[in-house]
Symmetry: C2
Subunit: 351 residues, 2 copies
Amino acid sequence: MSLNILVTGGAGFVGSHTILELLNVGHRVICVDNLCNAFGAANSKLPESLKRVQDLTGKSVTFYDVDIRDKDGLREIFNKHKIDCVAHFAALKAVGESCRIPLQYYQNNITGTSVLLEVMAEANVFSFVYSSSATVYGEPQKLPLDELHPTGSCTNPYGKSKYFTEEILKDLCESDPRWSVISLRYFNPVGAHKSGRIGEDPNGEPNNLMPYISQVAVGRRETLKVFGNNYDTPDGTGVRDYIHIVDLAEGHVSAIKKLAGGELKGFVVYNLGTGQGYSVLEVVDAFSKASGRAIKYEIVDRRLGDVASSYADVTLAAKELGWKAKRGLKEMCEDTWNWQKSNPNGFAGAK
Amino acid sequence: MSLNILVTGGAGFVGSHTILELLNVGHRVICVDNLCNAFGAANSKLPESLKRVQDLTGKSVTFYDVDIRDKDGLREIFNKHKIDCVAHFAALKAVGESCRIPLQYYQNNITGTSVLLEVMAEANVFSFVYSSSATVYGEPQKLPLDELHPTGSCTNPYGKSKYFTEEILKDLCESDPRWSVISLRYFNPVGAHKSGRIGEDPNGEPNNLMPYISQVAVGRRETLKVFGNNYDTPDGTGVRDYIHIVDLAEGHVSAIKKLAGGELKGFVVYNLGTGQGYSVLEVVDAFSKASGRAIKYEIVDRRLGDVASSYADVTLAAKELGWKAKRGLKEMCEDTWNWQKSNPNGFAGAK
């Protein structure tokens, strides 16, 4: 079964890896991205990440430089292509920045999604995969986090925008039975494609642990800041459920397969994680081994809003999507390092 | 002190009554309304409600037929007028409809507000009064409801759109100290201006009790439906905190005065209610006395999402805004009836 899949935000980290897997299983991809966080599109019709996806797969991606808030722009794309399903990655995602410019976050993430959904309905397209986040669970009331855990006590505009959008999707599905929506709640995506040709390329100082570590390892940054070592965890540092980006991408392939099967109706959520938590210091250690480099770090104050531990109950996705993460921490570190060392400045060094 | 106040949604029930009071105390009003729920604008530059406000006050309102999601349209208005403060009423507000067309509710109420706030910031206007609702409290955990009661467990898209917007306003104020925002949480606005020239004019079957009763009294509808008489209340019917629309309008005048004073910073909420709850049957009885008409009613099933009792703690607004509701249930019913009997078909009968 080969589908026409519209991917929004496809130039980014999760989007580009997902497109690669979608192409590999034989789907056709139409990508929409406003390139606000992507590198290398100025002199080219394609952002650098998608050029490399084409190289790696030997297949082509149809690309539109369109903002999802641009209703007419989206309409044109739906008129040109018979879309079967939409995978929606386009969003702003930096927690700290979201506190500084909340309106832009709400406009990009909520208004953007609403406009996209309106245009989909006009075009009679009702299959939707949403990039959600474990942040919607707020402070965990119990661990592991399963999909029935309450949502909503988010402390920053980024997290709220993910939670609000899930509520909008739920209301939409209740209002109109034609919709089938899968919301995938990501835990902590890391790693890179095995080739080392695509990977995570954050702007400025990374918000997340793994890219920070790898920039220290490659010499771009001096010292890793570890935010607190007095949490109630085995070594005192925060514990998270890291998931390899290729596993995450495969989770999307499984979700789209499920939607195409037609028996899923309404709004359904799945955790995408491994079910296994690792502390900051465990990740540092694993990365150090994978890269053969010492990672200098210092303990600094906790960050506001960080929880001690977060990891997923992954039984639902296994049962209903037939999907399970296969790659462990060692492979996550090796693949991150492989990408980082051959692209020390991310896509910016591309020839 | 005379200010230039931009009023969005000023053609509606709450908006028009507030404009009248703002004009009476000497402010100038610029009104923006897309007229999606207003009568009589086709053959005129002004909707019927605002024509009558002009008649009643002897003052004029500057009116723009603009949708608040239209950024360029709003920008033009802010370029033309030196706005001191915005009172934001424009929103869709029917609970049942919000469940049928949720995206339109989210687009009007959330996207609309975000666009308005963006344009305000561009124009260096940072004083904002928001039309919120007691619905943000969800199911009351204790009564009376004070402003510290938790918010967010709303069961329908209308209520969620009010709650989400409050969160957006809170985040905005935290991100930028120039903002001063008062969110007014309305309990159940009823009644009409003493003149009987302006009042509530719902489209189709009324969602709310008082307009329903008054349409029964005037003969437009046969029988009032009372949704449940087995609640845990003195007579089994739902108890609500009804507030006279002129009191509510005066609450806005007080809020704007407070903002203009300059000492209030950030995001602040106030309940607007009387603090006194009345049951459905008490309102029926009071209306019957005020109108001299029998009100035929029948008991039907509860409505999903209705709570047994809801009434406000009103001490905060009294203390900080110097505002208190002055009009009782008798006056609410008399003024509603005065409006209804001289306008049996609302503004539609206007010459």
